[in-house]
C-alpha cells in the first residue's frame, strides 16, 4: 500500500544524490526506431531497498511529445512518480486540485511542462504528480534530458564541459 509522501519527503527524495552509470546518455537515447508509435528506455539507479528509476518515453510520430520521469520505489516496491519533464504534446493540461479550489489559470498549453509530486494531490486522492507548471527550460528531448538530470539530484560521471555544452544549445 502506497504511503502519502509529504512535501519535505518529496523534496528530499528528489534532491537525494543519485549516481548515474557511465554512458547513461547512450542508455537513454531514444533515436533507435523499431516501428512502434512510441519509444521507451528505463534506467534503474541503485540496488538498495529504496531505489529510483529514470523512465524516458517519446512518440515516434511527434518527437516533441515525450516524458522523462523520476520514479521512486520504496522498500515495499511501491512506485511514486516524483518528477516528470513533459514535452509539448498537442493537448492541454489541467491542474485538477487548483480547479477544484476555484483558482484561475488551472488549465494551460499545449506547452512544455513539468509535473511535480505534491502532498496536497495525494491527500486529495489525485495522482501524485498531477500538478504541473509550464516551463521554458528546454525545447526538445535532448535539452529536456539535460535539464532533468540537473534538477533530479542525478550525479553525472561524465559532465559536459562548457565547450561541449555549447554544441547542445548551451544546456
Amino acid at each position: 500500500m502506497s504511503q502519502v509522501l509529504t512535501d519535505s519527503e518529496i523534496a528530499e527524495l528528489t534532491a537525494r544524490p543519485k549516481q548515474l552509470p557511465i554512458r547513461w546518455r547512450t542508455r537513454l537515447n531514444l533515436r533507435q526506431r523499431n516501428g512502434d508509435a512510441h519509444r521507451r528506455r528505463d534506467l534503474p539507479l541503485g540496488n538498495d531497498a529504496e531505489s529510483f528509476v529514470i523512465k524516458c518515453r517519446q512518440s515516434a510520430i511527434n518527437p516533441l511529445d515525450f516524458s522523462i520521469v523520476l520514479v521512486y520505489l520504496d522498500k515495499a516496491k511501491n512506485l511514486y512518480r516524483l518528477l516528470r519533464c513533459n514535452g509539448k504534446h498537442p493537448s492541454q493540461h489541467t491542474n485538477r486540485w487548483e480547479r477544484q479550489q476555484g483558482q484561475n489559470g488551472h488549465t494551460f498549453g499545449p506547452c512544455f511542462h513539468i509535473h511535480q509530486a505534491t502532498q496536497r494531490y495525494q491527500e486529495a486522492d489525485l495522482e501524485i504528480d498531477g500538478f504541473a507548471q509550464l516551463t521554458e527550460a528546454y525545447s526538445d528531448y535532448d535539452s529536456a534530458l539535460e535539464y532533468f538530470i540537473r534538477i533530479s539530484g542525478c550525479v553525472d560521471p561524465e559532465p559536459r564541459t562548457p565547450s561541449s555544452a555549447d554544441l547542445f544549445g548551451g544546456v
Binding site: 516501428g35 512502434d36 508509435a37 512510441h38 521507451r40 528505463d42 523512465k55 518515453r57 517519446q58 512518440s59 515516434a60 510520430i61 511527434n62 511529445d65 516524458s67 520521469v69 511501491n78 512506485l79 512518480r81 513533459n86 504534446h89 498537442p90 493537448s91 492541454q92 493540461h93 489541467t94 491542474n95 485538477r96 498549453g109 499545449p110 509535473h115 489525485l126 495522482e127 504528480d129 498531477g130 500538478f131 504541473a132
Partner: protein
C-alpha cells in the same frame, strides 16, 4: 474544409468545450476537456491521409498509460484493450490509435474516439494489487480450459497432514500417474512459499511433480528462483505462452508427462 462548421458539429455531438486548431497542412488539433488521471488532456488530432480523414492520438495514449510499466500485451488488460478497440472500431497501428471518419461523419467519429480513449485511460486505474488478482484469475482460467473440473482442486491442502492449511498448493491436478502441483507465482515471497510447500510434501513422501507459472519470471529474486528451480519439474515464465501451457497440461491430464 470549413472549420467553423466542423467545430460547431463537434460541439453539438460532444460538448461545448471542443475547439479546433489548424496546425500544419490538413492537420487539426482538437482541444477537448477529457483528461487522463494526471490532468493531461487526451491527444486528438484530425488529419488527412491519402484523401481520407482520420482521428489519431499520434501514439500518445498508450505511451501515457504505460508510464507505470503496465503490460498491455498479456492478461486481462490486453483483453480489455482489445475489446475496447473492437467495440469502437479503432485501429491500433503499432501503438498509434486511429479511427477513420466514415462518410463525412466527423462528429460521430470524434465521439467514438473520445469514448474509446476514456476507457483505455481507465486501464491504468487498475492497481498493482488488482493486477495480481487478475493474474491469479487468468492463470486459473488457463488451467480451467484444459483440465476437467473433476481432475483439479484449486487451493489444495492435505486434510490429514495439514488440517490448518499451512501448505497450500495453488492447484492440484490428479492424473493416473502422480499428482501435479501447480503454483501461480507473482512475487518473491510466493516463490519461496512454493519451494517450502514442495519440500514439505517431499518430506511427507508424497510423489508429485511441481509446475510453476509466473506472472513475470524476470522480476523474481534470483536466489528464490534458483531454490524453486531445484524442486520444480516445469516452469513457464509468464502467461504469454498460453498455447504451450495448455499443451503441457493436456499432456499432464493424459498422464503423458
Amino acid at each position: 474544409m470549413d472549420t467553423e462548421t466542423l467545430e460547431r458539429e463537434f460541439k453539438q455531438k460532444v460538448c461545448d468545450q471542443v475547439r479546433l486548431n489548424a496546425e500544419g497542412l490538413n492537420r487539426y488539433v482538437i482541444h477537448q476537456p477529457f483528461t487522463f488521471d494526471d490532468g493531461d488532456h487526451f491527444v486528438v488530432v484530425l488529419k488527412q491521409e491519402q484523401g481520407n480523414w482520420v482521428f489519431t492520438d499520434e501514439g500518445h495514449t498508450l505511451m501515457h498509460v504505460q508510464y507505470d510499466d503496465i503490460d498491455l500485451e498479456h492478461g486481462t488488460r490486453a483483453s480489455l484493450l482489445d475489446s475496447t478497440l473492437s467495440a469502437f472500431a479503432l485501429e491500433n497501428r503499432s501503438g498509434e490509435l486511429r479511427i477513420p471518419v466514415p462518410q463525412g461523419r466527423f462528429g460521430d467519429a470524434l465521439y467514438s474516439f473520445l469514448q474509446a480513449l476514456n476507457k483505455i485511460a481507465d486501464l491504468d486505474f487498475l492497481t498493482r494489487e488488482r493486477v495480481h488478482t487478475m493474474f491469479l484469475e487468468d492463470a486459473r482460467a488457463v488451467i480451467g480450459k484444459v483440465v476437467p473440473e473433476s481432475r483439479r482442486v484449486f487451493e489444495y491442502h492435505d486434510p490429514q497432514r495439514d488440517p490448518d492449511r499451512n501448505y497450500l498448493v495453488d492447484c492440484r491436478i490428479n492424473t493416473t500417474v502422480r499428482p501435479n502441483f501447480v503454483f501461480f507465482i507473482n512475487s518473491d515471497s510466493h516463490c519461496q512459499n512454493a519451494t517450502i510447500v514442495c519440500h514439505q510434501y517431499e518430506k511427507w513422501s508424497v510423489h508429485f511433480r511441481a509446475t510453476g507459472i509466473f506472472e513475470d519470471q524476470t522480476k523474481i529474486n534470483r536466489r528464490a528462483l534458483a531454490q524453486f528451480s531445484d524442486v520444480a519439474y516445469k516452469q513457464f515464465p509468464s502467461l504469454g505462452s498460453e498455447d504451450r501451457i495448455r499443451a503441457y497440461f493436456a499432456d499432464v491430464v493424459r498422464g503423458e508427462t
